[in-house]
Subunit: 393 residues, 2 copies
Amino acid sequence: MTTSSFHPPVRTLMGPGPSDVNPRVLAAMSRPTIGHLDPVFVDMMDEMKALLQYAFQTKNELTLPVSAPGSAGMEMCFVNLVQPGDTVIVCINGVFGMRMKENVERCGATAVVVEDTWGHPVDPQKLEDALKAHPEANTVAFVHAETSTGACSDAKTLTEIAHRHDCLVIVDSVTGLGGVELRVDDWGIDAIYSGSQKCLSCTPGLSPVSFNDAAVARIKAREHKVQSWFLDLTLVMGYWGSGTKRAYHHTAPINALYALHESLVILQEEGLENSWARHRAHHEALRAGLESLGLELIVPRDHRLPQLNAVRVPDGIDEAAVRKMLLDDFSLEIGAGLGPLAGKVWRIGLMGYGANRRNVLLCLSALESAMAAQGADIRSGGAVAAAMAVYGA
Amino acid sequence: MTTSSFHPPVRTLMGPGPSDVNPRVLAAMSRPTIGHLDPVFVDMMDEMKALLQYAFQTKNELTLPVSAPGSAGMEMCFVNLVQPGDTVIVCINGVFGMRMKENVERCGATAVVVEDTWGHPVDPQKLEDALKAHPEANTVAFVHAETSTGACSDAKTLTEIAHRHDCLVIVDSVTGLGGVELRVDDWGIDAIYSGSQKCLSCTPGLSPVSFNDAAVARIKAREHKVQSWFLDLTLVMGYWGSGTKRAYHHTAPINALYALHESLVILQEEGLENSWARHRAHHEALRAGLESLGLELIVPRDHRLPQLNAVRVPDGIDEAAVRKMLLDDFSLEIGAGLGPLAGKVWRIGLMGYGANRRNVLLCLSALESAMAAQGADIRSGGAVAAAMAVYGA
C-alpha cells in the first residue's frame, strides 16, 4: 500500500459548518509552528483573549479557545459547572439541546427537560414554569442558535428568567457567535461556548468559551473534582490565565490558534455589528430566492437565524439526490436534516466569509437546476432575480 | 484596540514538542477546507486509518486520531476502559504517569501506584509484585516513552506481565510513536495513545489512538455510560467506523487532519524502521557532542529515548538564561524540566523532521556558545567535532 498526499477539491461550503474559510485564515494556519510556551506565542494568546472578548462582547477574564471542537467546549461548561446531584433545566428545541441533556446526565446530575417544537425558539414561559416547579434547580441550559433547525432563541430573556430563580445559565452559541446579535455581558450570560467553524469562518477544531465571575465562583466552590482532567478549568486557567508565567497543561494546537486569531482579526476589521448586518442582508436575499422557488423555511420569520436556513423539502423531491447533484455538478455543499428532520429539510448556511452575494446566487442557481432536473415546475432564473431584487441591483 | 495578523518568528524546535514541522505538512494544512461528511473526506479518513495502523504496527480496526491533543487521547483511553470501582495499577516514573493516576481517580476508580525514580524505566519486577498484591486490579497503565525524562520503558515485557495477571494495558506513547520501536500487535498492547506533534512532526492538536479487540469488548460490556460525551468511543465509532455511512458526532478538525495525513504519508515514504534508525543515529551524534561539553544525560544508556534527551544542568550554569540565549540569539527552542526536574535539566528533542544533522549541529554550537557566555571552560568547536566524528564525516 502506498498512499499519496491528499488534495481536496475546492468546495463552496453552505452547509451547517464548516463554512467557507477565508484564504487569509488558511494562510495564517500554515505559518511556522512555534512552541506553546514561547514568549511570542504567549503574547499572541493575550491578543486572542482580547479578540474573543470583543466577539463575545464581554470583559470576562476567563475567555479562551478550548483546544478541541464545540462538543468539547460544551463539555467544558457542563463538567466544570455541574456537580453530581445538581438539577439542571435543559431547554430542548433541536439536536443540540439533546446533547446538553446527555452532558448533564453524564455529570451525575438530573436534567429537567423543557421541550419546544423543533424549528421554534425556546418558550420563556415554559422555562419560567419549570423553574417554579423545580426550585432545587441551580442551572439552566439552552441553545441560543440551534444549528439543527435555524431557530434563534431569546437568550437575553431566558437568562433573566434563570437569574430570577437563582440559576446560572449555560448557553450554546456555536452557530450564533459572529453571525447574530450576542452580548454576553449585557445579557448576563454566565457560561457560553461556541465553535470556530461557523460564523467565524475559521477551520473546525476549536471552541471559544467564556465564563463570568459567578461561574468562576461556582467552579472554585466545587466539592468534587472535575471529572475531566483535560477540560478542568482550574488547570486550564494556569495556561490561559494572565501574566508571563504560564503553567504547561497540554500542548496547545498552535497552528489552529493562528487560524482562529486571524479569523478574529478579520471580524474586528469588519466590526461585529457590520458582520451581523451582513449575515442578515444575505439571508434576506436567499430567502427571497428560495420563496420564488416555492421553498419555505421551517422557522417562523421573527425567530430565524440568518446564518442557518432550514428549508422544507417539497413533496416529490428526492432531497439526497438534490444534495448529491449540488456537490457533484456545482461542488457546492449544503446540509441534510438531523434527527426527526432527516430527509425533511436542507440546511443552507450563510456563515462568516460564506455570507456573500456570490454564494447566495450560486446556491439559488444550483437548487433551481437540481429541482428542475427532478421535474419541478420552475421558471428559469426566477430565484436569482428575486435575490437580486433584494440586493437592489 | 486594533490587532494585526500574527506573524510568528521562524524557530528551530528542539524541545519536548511541538517539533519542527515538515513544510509539506504545513502546506497540506492550508488546503481548502471541505465538509466532514464529504465523500472525498470520508475516503481520506479511510486512508488515515490505514496510515495510523502502519505507524502503530497494528491491524486494530479501532484506530483513529482523536480531535484534540494527547491529553484528550489519554482521557479517551481511561474514560472508556475504566469504570467506577475498578482498580488500576499505574506505573509512575515521570510527569505523565502522574497524569494517568489523575485520570484513573477521576473515573471513580482506585489507582495503585508503582513508583520508579524519574529518569529510569518502569521496573517489571515492581509491576509483578503489585499485581500479586492486588489481584482485584483489571488494568495496568504505564508510559512507554516518558516525555518528562526521556526514559523508555519495556512496553513488551510490561504488557506480558499485565496479561499474565488478566489485566488490560493502557500505554502512553505520545513521544514514542514514529521515533522508537513500537509494535502494538506483536506486543499485545490493548489501548494506546499518542500525539501528532512529536515524532510525527505534525502540528499539535491531534491524538492518534488504537484499541484492540479485548479493549473493544470491555467497552461494549460497560455497565456505566462513559462519563465524557465528546470522548465516548461508542459514539465516536459511528463517525470513524467503516463504510460510507458515517454518523455525525462532532465536526472533525478538517485541516488538522490534512496535516496529520501528510505527516503519515511522509513516515510511510521513509519507512518506520528507517525512521527509528534515523532518530537513533542523530541521538548518538548529539550525545557525543553533549558529552564533549561535559554534559550528561539523566537516563542510563540502555533506556534512553533517542528523541528526547534530558541533560543535567551543570553546577554554576543558569539553566533559564541558557534557554533564553538559545531562543533570542539562535531562535532555537529547547525545553525546561518539569516537576521535580524543573531547573535541573534541559530537554532536547530530536523528533521526526527535526531529527537531522542540521539541528544537532546548531544545538551543540548554540549550547557551547551559551555555556561559554556563562564562563564555562569549553574548547570552541569541540562539540561539533565530536558529533561529526559520530556521523563519520
